[in-house]
Amino acid sequence: MKRTISVTVNGKVRRESVEPRLLLVHFLRDVLRLTGTHVGCDTSQCGACTVSMNGLAVKSCTILAVQADGAEITTIEGLARDGALHPIQAAFREHHGLQCGFCTPGMIMAAKQLLERYPAPTIEQIRDQLDGNICRCTGYHGIIKAIEAAARAMAEKGQAPTTGS
């Protein structure tokens, strides 16, 4: 019944035997114990489970683990490099882009995709692109400011956002 899958998560190849019905989010959380990716709903509305799969932001509650066989996945835990925060993470702290922190990993992963698509986004583009992620605490203001600031920081560093991990 179980199937063996091989998924590269945050740069490490993980071979695991999973039930075909196992959702990717539960594979990450319960099998790999990467609990930074959260579950906030059961209808793909909230976006707390957003991760990067083959360079695209996906809601990991809406994908089966077996569908991720062979894929490259980046989760919130894989974003900081050598102890240095990703510019988006740093900007969320600097601009009060979070309160309870529960939507934050999904929000940051969605922001990563957003900045790959629009390296210098307008506020309207930011608001529009965040449609799949709900924050109940902040009113989004700090999140939008953080994404604008991250775009500037990444441009200054000459660090054009790249896809994948």
């Binding site: 209808t43 509305q45 919130i76 925060l85 922190g101 529960f102 934050t104 529009d128 109940r136």
Partner: protein, 770 residues
């Protein structure tokens, strides 16, 4: 350090995915629970067939409530923070709320629990449990529930479970003297707090120490400890409740739900770690909601706009179990007059049980209903008199000359409501200026000529916060000079780890980077209450201040002996303790902490070490306040509301951290925006939930939220050492009233907006019927 907008200390773990929410708690040998829930709003549970479920692979046990005597327990009747001291209430009937009921009283009520090796297997087990129901007629609205022939939710108990009344002045006379009498029915909906993290609980019996460890999303962890210890007849100290990283609360998690108790009881019996995490669908059906509230209000006024009196009847749906007696209605009454003089008021309220999940507070907790009523009344008077809404407000406003001002209400703590050191006209004037009110009034006419519908709405709120009884804090310094602050409250995102550290840094003279704040764990402080009623900054904040001052006193006394100077000459800054003017003669907080362990001088300073515990008892609540002005454009074709400008002027006393204050206001505003435009828990006549997911229940998205023009005005309070007030529940109060008023204004008086939310379809319907 105090009053500075520094980034938050707690953010590091959240932005890296290292937070530890309850669903992240993983223990060796852990089991997982899933609940079998009632399909009916009202039904006897005749039979539960668990045989098939027991054979599902991975299922370990199916619990139906008969297994152990403690499962027949009931939840504590009233939540810890209710209104026993309120003089308004003249009757409350509390009904035992069983952990495993013989009769389900709402859809989603827990009937049985499946325990399994994985959450998936537990869900499989739930599918395999067969429940035989005997359905009974259900009532899902107060209008149905008060009918004489209505089915009783609890046998032998009237559906009206509580009643209150209160009168100030002479209302009959006010109506006799009135030149204008207006009547309105106002309706506000039941709401879900809708934290993005649903509820969860994990528990583990630790044999070695005889401790039942509980991880919970509860806002009031000591209340949960008392309930579990009470049922298991254990010492309270043997139950350790940890409620540290919580993904939003907003009131719904400030309640004891049955699962919060059931899971620890089962973990204790099975001697296996056990975890349950609510699904969003369970949250939408079985978790508490705020309860629909309807007001019938009559207003007596003069033709010059002076309000003479108000007569208010309040009907509140409280769900199947009323754990909050009439707290929400009492909050409504005590916030009702906001910034205005209503010399004669009579209120009467009824709490009415319905076949829905129990009612409980949601951020604002009755204040939205108060503000919506007062502002709709002021606007109705403006329409009846032909006066500008601002002028009606100025006619009735409480001025600084009226301070201290008592409106005749008695707060939940039994203390008369008193406003002091607040300048309401200044708030209104600031809002008017920031909103360019006169300019928009002119534009409104121009745009109207061009076929565009622009409207302006004004709303004023007050927010009582900092409710007691008290909170405590322990401040200690270790031998490396690192400072630990322990508090009895927990955080659902309010930034305590930063703001409380700022208070400590300010009072003690320690560097902020050397201060850590620990809370949300009953093993840290023996007594605490929790987070709700906008009470942490005032209660815990001032407790931290007092404890830090007490430690500072010890530092100064010890340092003066060691450095050979008077106490007045001791200076502390950035962790360095020195003698004024004598730079070479200095030591550090860490060095003093090391010496304080063995130095005999400490015998007269309360014992070894640099540590102190203090409690802060507020005299009564503090009063924050604000004025909102909204300018909207309504699309008459689609009913879409575009917010062109939104001004939010507010006072919350001295801000501990302006960035955090901003965040509280903006987040609260957005919840108010949701209440204004779409949020609503919907039940059908049978009590089935029609708003069962985030597809059906509106929550504002980034694209919906306008730019907010925030203006902070500071009126410090003399009532606590820090001069601070609350801010947590300021945000949501005024947006519904301001936006509803603006929509009504935009439609040119063609319709009256008396019901929230004002959805696009409600606008189109109103336009069609006008």
């Amino acid at each position: 350090m105090l009053g500075k907008a520094i980034p938050r200390k707690e953010d590091q773990r959240f932005i890296t995915g290292a937070g530890l929410y309850v669903e992240d708690v993983q223990l060796p040998g852990m089991l997982y629970a899933a609940f079998v829930r009632s399909a009916y709003a009202h039904a006897y549970i005749r039979r539960i067939d668990v045989e098939r479920a027991r054979n599902v692979p991975g299922v370990v046990a199916v619990i139906t409530g008969k297994e152990w005597p403690e499962l027949s327990a009931t939840l504590p009747e009233l939540n810890g923070s209710v209104t026993l001291t309120s003089p308004y209430i003249d009757s409350v009937k509390v009904v035992p709320h069983h952990l495993f009921p013989e009769k389900a009283c709402y859809v989603g009520e827990q009937i049985a629990v499946v325990i399994a090796e994985s959450a998936y297997a537990a869900a499989d087990g739930v599918e395999a449990v067969e429940v035989e129901y005997e359905p009974l007629p259900a009532v899902a609205s107060w209008e149905e529930a008060i009918k004489p022939e209505a089915p009783r939710i609890h046998k032998g108990v009237d559906n009206t479970v509580a009643h209150l009344k209160h009168e100030v002045g002479d209302v009959e006379r006010a109506f006799r003297d009135a030149e204008i009498v207006l009547e309105k029915r106002l309706e506000t909906q039941s709401l879900k707090s809708m934290a993005i993290e649903c509820r969860a609980v994990a528990a583990q019996w630790e044999e070695a120490t005889g401790t039942l460890n509980v991880w919970s999303t509860c806002q009031f962890h000591y209340m949960l400890r008392s309930a579990i210890a009470g049922i298991l007849k254990m010492p309270a100290e043997a139950v350790r409740v940890m409620a540290r990283d919580i993904g939003g609360g907003f009131g719904l998690k400030g309640v004891l739900h049955a699962e919060d108790v059931i899971i620890p009881l089962i973990a204790y019996r099975l001697k296996r770690p056990l975890r349950w995490a609510e699904t969003r669908m369970e949250h939408m059906t079985a978790s508490n909601h705020s309860g629909r509230q309807v007001h019938d209000v009559r207003i007596a006024a003069r033709r010059d706009g002076t309000i003479l009196g108000m007569d208010l009847k309040m009907y509140k749906e409280v769900g199947a179990y009323d754990h909050f007696d009439m707290m929400l209605q009492i909050n409504t009454i005590n916030h009702l007059t906001t910034h205005y003089k209503v010399p004669n008021i009579r209120v009467e309220g009824w709490a009415i049980a319905t076949n829905t999940s129990p009612g409980s507070p949601y951020r604002g907790a009755g204040r939205v209903e108060a503000v919506f009523t007062m502002d709709r009344v002021l606007d109705a008077v403006a329409r009846a008199t032909g006066l500008d809404p601002i002028d009606v407000r100025l006619k009735n406003i409480v001025t600084p000359a009226d301070m201290p001002y008592r409106n005749g209400m008695i707060y939940r703590d039994g203390v008369p409501v008193t406003y002091d050191a607040i300048d309401f006209p200044l708030l209104l004037e600031r809002a008017k200026q920031r909103a360019e009110y006169d300019l928009w009034r002119r534009r409104q006419q121009e745009y109207r000529a061009a076929g565009r519908s622009i409207g302006i709405g004004i709303s004023s709120y007050v927010e009582a916060g900092g409710l007691g009884p008290c909170e405590g804090a322990t401040v200690s310094i270790d031998e490396a000079g690192r400072v630990t602050v322990k508090v009895g409250v927990n955080s659902q995102g309010q930034s305590h780890e930063t703001t409380l550290a700022q208070i400590c840094a300010h009072a003690l003279g320690a560097p902020i980077d050397d201060i850590q704040v620990l809370g949300g764990d009953t093993s840290l402080m023996n007594i605490g209450f929790g987070t709700g009623a906008s009470r942490v900054a005032v209660n815990a904040g001032n407790a931290v201040y007092k404890a830090a001052v007490a430690v500072r006193r010890k530092v100064v006394a010890l340092a003066s002996g060691i450095l050979g100077c008077t106490e007045d000459e001791v200076e502390i800054a950035d962790g360095i303790v020195s003698v004024a003017g004598a730079r070479q003669n200095q030591t550090t907080l860490g060095e003093l902490a090391r010496r304080a362990l063995r130095d005999r001088r400490m015998a007269d300073l309360g014992g070894p070490g640099l540590v102190a515990t203090e409690f802060f008892y507020p005299k009564t609540v503090t009063w924050a306040s604000g004025v909102n002005i909204a300018v909207v454009e309504v699309d008459r074709e689609t009913g879409h509301v575009d917010i062109l400008k939104y001004v939010f002027v507010h006072d919350c006393g001295l801000p501990l951290n302006p960035m955090v204050v901003d965040g509280q206001i903006r987040g609260g505003f957005t919840q108010g925006l949701g209440i204004a435009l779409g949020e609503r828990v919907v039940y059908d006549e049978e009590g089935q939930v029609r708003s069962g997911s985030l597809m059906d229940y509106y929550v504002p998205r980034a694209v919906d939220v306008p730019d907010l023009e925030l203006d902070h005005v500071t009126f410090p309070t003399p009532d606590n050492p820090l001069g601070i007030k609350s801010v947590g529940e300021s945000g949501p109060n005024s947006p519904p009233a301001a936006i509803a008023a603006a929509i009504e204004d935009a439609l040119g008086g063609a319709v009256e907006i008396n019901t929230l939310p004002v959805t696009m379809s409600a606008i189109l319907q109103a336009l069609r019927s006008s």
